[in-house]
């Protein structure tokens, strides 16, 4: 039984918890609030009170369950192997079932509202940008702050909406000479709307490695913002649409460059659709051939080392929670970075600690999110690097926001952007020597 269908699905996980409190040592929220409800043990006890009938699922409960970045750090530190990620998803889904979406309206709504604002922004183009977002001068990228507070504060820094979405910039199939395989690229929302530079780098690196890239036009949001907040219905609809879009175009493998997209394709779609035999089969089929881009380049391709040019950067790498703990990927991006001539990799303290973004978490709990981010920013500052690499556009946004607010001069990039830069440098070097 999937965690999205019933609270009973997690009774075994709850039993495993011996209330030792070990999760306190790693929880980013507890570190800031020092309140028991912030840590896994506190929320586990709340679920237990609901199951035993001592407490009802109230709106207050739903609010407490929103206090989690789903960073999975407690999973890893739990001596009893409690899968708190499952518990929190089940609790949030139950909250929506029992209290309706309005109970989490603050949570889901803000997320939805954001998406609408952005969609509108895409249509209205630069007029919107001027109205809602205030441009911040920055050497590295186009950043902006919210002019009006739509319930998420005006502290958060956003990248400017891109002039054109990634998907409208490219044809559905990007051909190469003598392709060695055909790969589907699931862009995800952030790369499609904001960080088209990441998307372009992915396409550049794949084609450089003689891979034909397919970007199905009808792909949708991965649905993670909905499923982690308990909006299982919307998440299911999106899962179906994505599976059909990729199935229609066909591909030998599917790559993603954001950690939520990877989690969605590898795990969540199958769990959401477990009661639909036909689609469940499809979900499992695609799960088997879904890869994070760094994982794909190291283990499946492997990517070309000849032709890599010099990139003079001092880089520190931030592990996205859902890459390192969600998918066990932490060596691969570092291996890519180390293989680039000129790149010096300097580790920060606790590279795997949550940056506090966690999708809609940062919209619902802006102050907490900023507090968690400040810790990250100060760890980054101590590395004295000039570049932060990471594997997820959402983390990139949070890291950029923190760095901008702290006034540090540091560029934040997706790992693959640096790899693309290196291929480009390689070409230039060869031209120069000819």
């Amino acid at each position: 039984m999937s965690v999205y269908n019933s609270l009973d699905s997690i009774t075994e996980e709850l039993h495993k918890c011996m209330k030792c409190g070990n999760c306190q040592a790693v929880c980013p929220i507890y570190k800031e609030t020092h309140q028991e409800v912030g840590v896994a043990r506190g929320k586990i006890s709340l679920v237990e009170y609901i199951l035993s009938g001592e407490m009802d699922m109230t709106e207050g409960m739903a609010e407490r369950f929103s206090l989690c970045t789903t960073c999975m750090a407690c999973n890893t530190n739990c001596p009893c192997g409690v899968r708190f990620d499952k518990i929190i998803l089940a609790a949030r889904a139950e909250a929506v079932r029992k209290k309706g979406l309005h109970a989490v309206k603050k949570i889901a709504f803000t997320a939805l509202k954001m998406q609408r604002v952005f969609d509108f922004g895409m249509k209205a183009g630069s007029i919107f940008q001027g109205v809602a977002l205030k441009h911040i001068p920055n050497r590295h990228s186009k950043l902006a702050r919210m002019r009006v507070d739509i319930g998420i504060g005006t502290e958060k820094v956003f990248p400017m909406l891109s002039k054109k979405t990634l998907r409208s910039e490219f044809p559905e199939v990007i051909k190469v000479k003598n392709p060695k395989m055909r790969v589907g690229f699931f862009t995800g929302c952030m790369i499609n709307y904001f960080y088209t530079d990441i998307g372009r780098a992915i396409i550049e690196v794949l084609t450089e490695n003689d891979i034909e890239v397919v970007i199905p036009r009808f792909q949708a949001c991965c649905g993670i913002p909905a499923s982690v907040n308990g909006d299982v219905g919307s998440a299911r609809t999106l899962a179906k649409r994505n599976l059909r879009a990729f199935e229609r175009m066909g591909a030998d493998a599917l790559v993603v460059a954001c950690s939520s997209g990877g989690t969605a394709w590898k795990h969540v779609f199958g769990e959401l659709l477990e009661n639909d035999p036909e689609l469940k089969l499809l979900a499992d089929k695609w799960a088997k051939k879904s890869y994070d881009i760094s994982e794909f380049l190291i283990h499946q391709v492997p990517f070309k080392k000849e032709g890599l040019g010099r990139v003079a950067r001092k880089v520190t790498y931030h592990d996205p929670c859902h890459l390192i703990r969600g998918q066990g990927i932490s060596k691969e991006p570092r291996e890519i970075l180390r293989s680039i001539p000129g790149v010096e990799l300097i580790e920060m303290k606790e590279a795997g600690r949550c940056c506090g973004m966690a999708g809609s978490f940062s919209l619902v709990h802006p102050d907490l999110s900023v507090q968690i981010s400040d810790r990250k920013t100060s760890d980054i500052a101590q590395t004295h690097t000039d570049t932060v690499a990471t594997g997820c556009p959402a983390c990139r946004l949070q890291l950029q926001s923190g760095i901008e607010n702290a006034g540090i001069d540091e560029e934040v990039l997706h790992t693959i952007q640096i790899l693309a830069e290196s291929y480009r440098a390689g070409k230039k070097e060869r031209k120069g020597s000819n």
Partner: protein
């Protein structure tokens, strides 16, 4: 329910952000790490930011006759933080500053909400160490561990929390603030109240500042693991190590039930039919450590260990310790409820105690695994059960009674490091007699006549 005025006064004093009153928050302060213990919801949770605020909270509590339950990280194993009479939970977690590390006097001054490991990280930067290391070093607070007088793995050589507490600042049950002890090694001025408040479990006063002793961190360490096919041989090996004038930093034991469970859990390579495993670590100057490790190895072999392993590097060391570290969590996986005791006997009685526990398990038809700090006689007989099975729980309570009886008859004590709390209150007269229990009560009533501080713990009110 609390009177409205109490809440109003608390909010006025501390600010609403430091006063929790909603059910959903209160319920998360109704328990601690103690298994099979009834939970109780407090009426309010407050988090003061200064000693003065703590004192003001106490004064409000006196005025309205509301009990106060001090709380650190809530990891104690004796029900010490459960607010059995409702009232105020006083969370000390916002008082979390290391005020000073004094290299000349080898002391540190900390607030009670500092996590033990945070102090150790700070001390380590100067090559110093705060030795007490309960299994919860990364979560437990200094205030909580001083109040429980926590032990840990290094007790044999380095002692326990009380050996490192030099001075305290306290808020008394009448709201007055006192300081006792300080940075001097010698201090015989008046009664030793620092000793009294260490291990008092928050029943006599609230600790708001702690001066601890630090020591130079040992330069090197070496771990040795030995497997025995007989509990008595393991017991003789423990005695032989000490008789040869080696005091290991740690000397741990696991019995057969524990070994089997752990082995299935982590596959550390322990023989399933082993009757006991000893895990020993020596530390100190490099040369001394090398010499002692070889000596320990030789003694273990002479005493009939079927297998002895010395860890060559830190990686091998971690592997040897994996089994011991996994003992409690592995056992906790087997059944829903894990009743963990910490009856303690003189080191020489360890084999007797292990055999007695085995008998008690058989007699009551229960699964009891035993592991613990063999070097200091502190064992953790762990009963694996299910609190929903009322019939079995009856047998569990019988077995716990019997374990305590045996420990006391062997010249031991009810609790080595987990404290009395609610869990062991009713056994106190077995160890002290009625006259002894009366002394505890007189001390309690001298310092806290109206039972404002952590009522329902250690001392029963008649």
């Amino acid at each position: 329910m609390l009177a409205r005025e109490v809440l109003d006064e608390l909010v006025k004093m501390l600010g609403s952000e430091n006063v929790l009153t909603e059910q959903e928050d209160l319920l998360t302060y109704a328990y601690d790490a103690t298994a099979a213990m009834k939970h109780h919801k407090p009426d309010v949770v407050v988090s003061p930011l200064s000693t003065e605020q703590v004192a003001e909270v106490v004064k409000i509590a006196i005025r309205y006759h509301v009990p106060i339950y001090p709380r650190g990280s809530g990891t104690n194993l004796s029900g010490g933080t459960i607010p059995t009479e409702g009232g105020i939970v006083l969370s000390m977690l916002n008082l979390n500053k290391i005020l000073e590390v004094d290299q000349d006097n080898l002391t540190a001054t900390v607030q009670p909400g500092v996590i033990i490991q945070t102090l150790n990280d700070e001390a380590a930067k100067l090559g110093l160490l705060y030795p007490p290391d309960p299994g919860t070093v990364t979560t437990a607070t200094m205030g909580g561990s001083v109040s429980e007088c926590s032990g840990g793995l290094r007790g044999l050589k380095y002692g326990v929390t009380k050996h490192y507490i030099m001075g305290l600042q306290l808020v008394l049950a009448n709201g007055e603030i006192i300081r006792w002890g300080g940075k001097t090694v010698k201090n015989v001025t008046g009664y030793d109240l620092v000793a009294l408040f260490t291990g008092a479990e928050g029943t006599l006063g609230i600790i708001t500042e702690i001066i601890v002793k630090l020591i130079p961190a040992p330069e090197a360490r070496k771990s040795i693991l030995a497997v025995f096919d007989d509990v008595d041989k393991a017991g003789r090996a423990i005695a032989a190590i000490i008789r040869n004038k080696i005091i290991p930093a740690t000397l741990e034991i696991m019995d057969n039930v524990t070994i089997q469970t752990v082995e299935h859990f982590v596959h550390a390579g322990l023989p399933l039919d082993a009757q006991a495993v000893l895990l020993c670590e020596v530390d100190g100057y490099k040369e001394v450590v090398e010499r002692e490790a070889v000596l320990v190895e030789k003694i273990l072999q002479e005493e009939g260990a079927v297998q002895v392993k010395i860890a060559k590097d830190d990686q091998e060391r971690d592997l040897l310790w994996l089994a011991r570290r996994s003992a409690l969590p592995a056992l906790a996986q087997k059944r829903p409820t894990t009743v963990l005791e910490d009856a303690t006997v003189p080191r020489s009685k360890i084999p007797d105690m292990l055999k007695a526990i085995r008998r008690i398990a058989e007699k009551n038809n229960l699964q009891i695994a035993t592991f613990g700090h063999a070097g200091d006689g502190n064992l953790h007989p762990t009963i694996l059960t299910d609190e929903r099975d009322l019939e079995e729980m009856k047998r569990v309570h019988l077995a716990v009674d019997e374990i305590f009886q045996v420990a006391i008859s062997l010249g031991g004590t009810l609790s080595g490091e987990h404290g009395i709390g609610i869990a062991k209150m009713k056994y106190l007269d077995w160890e002290f007699g009625e006259a002894g229990v009366a002394v505890l009560r007189r001390i309690k009533e001298a310092l806290d006549p109206s039972y404002i501080l952590n009522p329902g713990k250690i001392v029963r009110r008649d």
